[in-house]
């Protein structure tokens, strides 16, 4: 009798466990919420859409590979059309949704949100690589897996000075002449102006008047004529690809006769397509490999693009996808580390996540990531590429940190 009772209880127990297990399998595991702000329709949509696709694809990859120590990431991704007020609104939504981190976008909104994310200890990994966001004493929760605009601009002008100027017919006879072409009102475009002019002076350039070129410019003839009066040898372009392509075409057709260096959001696979011959010789920094380049994770990136966005032709994919993967994978690594060492609170993600990355390789062709408690610039070596016969090829690597160690360590951080 007792035996039968025991047997019955065992069966009931097994039944209950089976039911609970069965239901819990369908109920879904714990998730980690991450917000993403992207521009697919606004002033930087020419580069923003591909980046947005890359973010979503990279999150699929993260989840397929264990998520955050077994917890899948739930991505809340929104287009904010490059409208700063809307970015602030979406950030508030991310807070209400209890997102643990944000994958942000532009310089204007990232810098506008910076005091808030600092106060609320929200890790904010942006596609704005403004150097204003690299000093943890001021902006501790702003991070990105890329070299910053100011370092990129310093490296690009240095590369031109080292590689191109010595071949110029006037080399040794006079100072090289330099002007900047960018949208004055755009926080992104103007972010590295002070740094690039500082570097120009350091290298002995004569600096001419800036030219105000809209991010939406399709006709820049008046600005090119303005530049011609100064007869520059080199022009720095601070806008995104479409506007830069227009400026290069007009410079070519009006015979400006200068070389061009471009901020990283203005040089990509579309530049030679849009500017044609006018793009040849243009130089600029890239923060990671271009789409399809031979780096360890490229095959995976391309497979995920094909799988999750089968309707987007491969020829439309660009380096922006790789930039998105870089930021996402950096955040992933920080989340995994933080989760194992105290949890996913903002301060913990920063301290036991990001700031423990030292020479961390993403496999996407960018510099290995190092973040410290006093410096969020990931690296001091900047690769500079050049457009050669319509293809973008590596020209040189400029070691800013090695060449100007005192300035790098004491002067250049945060601007």
């Amino acid at each position: 009798m007792r035996m039968r009772n025991t047997l019955s209880k065992v069966f009931i127990f097994i039944f209950a466990v089976a039911l609970i297990t069965g239901f819990s399998m369908t109920a879904g595991a714990a998730t980690v919420k991450v917000g993403a702000l992207n521009d697919m329709t606004g002033a930087t949509s020419d580069v923003g859409k591909d980046y947005a696709l890359g973010i979503a694809e990279a999150i699929h990859y993260v989840n397929d590979n264990g998520g955050v120590n077994g917890k899948k990431i739930k991505l809340y991704q929104f287009d904010y059309g490059y409208r700063v007020p809307e970015a602030l609104t979406k950030y508030k939504l991310f807070k209400r949704l209890k997102c643990v981190a944000v994958l942000g976008w532009g310089t204007g909104d990232t810098e506008a949100l910076s005091p808030t994310v600092t106060k609320e200890k929200m890790p904010y990994v942006s596609a704005s690589y403004s150097a204003h966001l690299t000093n943890p004493a001021k902006t501790p929760y702003n991070l990105f897996a890329a070299t910053d605009y100011s370092s990129n601009a310093r490296a690009a002008i240095t590369a031109w000075f080292d590689k191109k100027w010595p071949k110029h017919k006037d080399y040794g006879k006079r100072k090289p002449r330099f002007v900047c072409s960018y949208m004055f009102a755009s926080p992104y475009s103007s972010a590295p102006i002070k740094a690039v002019k500082d570097q120009a002076k350091l290298l002995g350039f004569e600096v001419g008047p800036d030219q105000d070129v809209s991010l939406f410019a399709i006709d820049t003839k008046s600005q090119i004529l303005g530049m011609k009066r100064f007869k520059p040898d080199l022009v720095w372009h601070g806008n995104t690809t479409m506007s830069v392509a227009s400026t290069l075409r007009d410079a070519y057709s009006l015979g400006l006769g200068a070389d061009h260096i471009i901020n990283n959001w203005g040089i990509d696979e579309n530049l030679p397509r849009l500017a044609g011959k006018a793009a040849n010789g243009a130089m600029g920094a890239s923060v990671c490999a271009f789409y399809g380049e031979d780096v360890p994770l490229m095959k995976t990136v391309m497979e995920y693009g094909k799988k999750y966005n089968p309707g987007v032709p491969i020829e439309k994919r660009t380096v922006r996808t790789i930039q998105a993967w870089s930021n996402t994978l950096a955040l992933w690594e920080a989340l995994k580390r933080a989760d194992k060492n105290g949890g996913l609170g903002g301060e913990n993600i920063l301290k036991t996540g990001f700031e423990t990355l030292a020479g961390f390789e993403l496999g996407l062709g960018g510099a290995p990531l190092t973040y410290t408690a006093t410096d969020h610039r990931i690296a001091g070596k900047i690769p500079i590429y050049e457009v050669v016969d319509g293809k973008i090829k590596l020209l040189t690597v400029v070691d800013l940190k090695g060449r100007w160690p005192a300035k790098w360590n004491k002067e250049w951080l945060g601007w």
């Binding site: 009772n5 606004g42 949509s45 399709i218």
Partner: protein, 196 residues
């Protein structure tokens, strides 16, 4: 008592077997998981204020001056048909909106939806446009096409905004991708459509 216990054991075993075999036999496998089908049922305009554009030079009655465009909302209603004998989860849905040959927006739905076995659900995806935002898409991604057509962006915008209530131009859905999950399996359905 003896008979009652045996009956209970049998019942327990039966229910347990039924539950577990149900999971094993009726559930998704790589070979039986078919990608759901997506079709555009129709497009609606739930919010419309006509055509206008206010530049930053115009002083508003209240508030700050800025580049403000006439808003227009379009709602895209899709039929999502699940051909499988088990429910599937929609875990991502996005597409680009085309006005004629111009890509003018990329929208999606982040909400999770379950589609019952062998049933069709409807999904409504709102897309908000305004003449400012669409102007920017014409000036950036669409700049080359616009130049080829030899038209000003203003002429194109006016034609779209005044023609929208009658769908006087084709509204397209392109580069669509929907992610479906069943257990650990994932299928992505690509879709495109034109309305009307």
């Amino acid at each position: 008592m003896h008979k009652k216990s045996i009956l209970m054991i049998c019942l327990t075993v039966f229910v347990l077997a039924a539950f577990m075999s149900g999971c094993a036999l009726m559930g998704p496998t790589k070979s039986n998981f078919k990608a759901p089908k997506i079709s555009l049922s129709h497009v609606e305009i739930p919010y419309y204020t006509g055509y206008y554009y206010l530049s930053a030079k115009v002083k508003p009655t209240k508030g700050k001056a800025g580049n403000y465009g006439a808003p227009m909302m379009m709602a895209f209603i899709f039929d999502i048909e699940n051909p499988n004998s088990y429910p599937v989860e929609l875990d991502g849905f996005k597409f680009s909106v085309m006005f004629e040959e111009f890509e003018v927006n990329t929208v999606g739905s982040t909400e999770t939806m379950w589609i019952p076995a062998e049933k069709t659900n409807q999904l409504r995806v709102p897309a908000i446009f305004d003449t400012r935002q669409t102007l920017l898409t014409l000036l950036l991604p669409g700049a080359m096409k616009m130049k080829e057509r030899g038209q000003s962006p203003w002429a194109i915008l006016e034609a779209w905004w005044t023609g929208a209530p009658d769908f006087a131009f084709p509204v397209g859905v392109s580069e669509g991708a929907a992610v479906f999950k069943a257990g650990d399996l994932v299928e992505v359905t690509a879709f495109e459509a034109t309305f009307p």
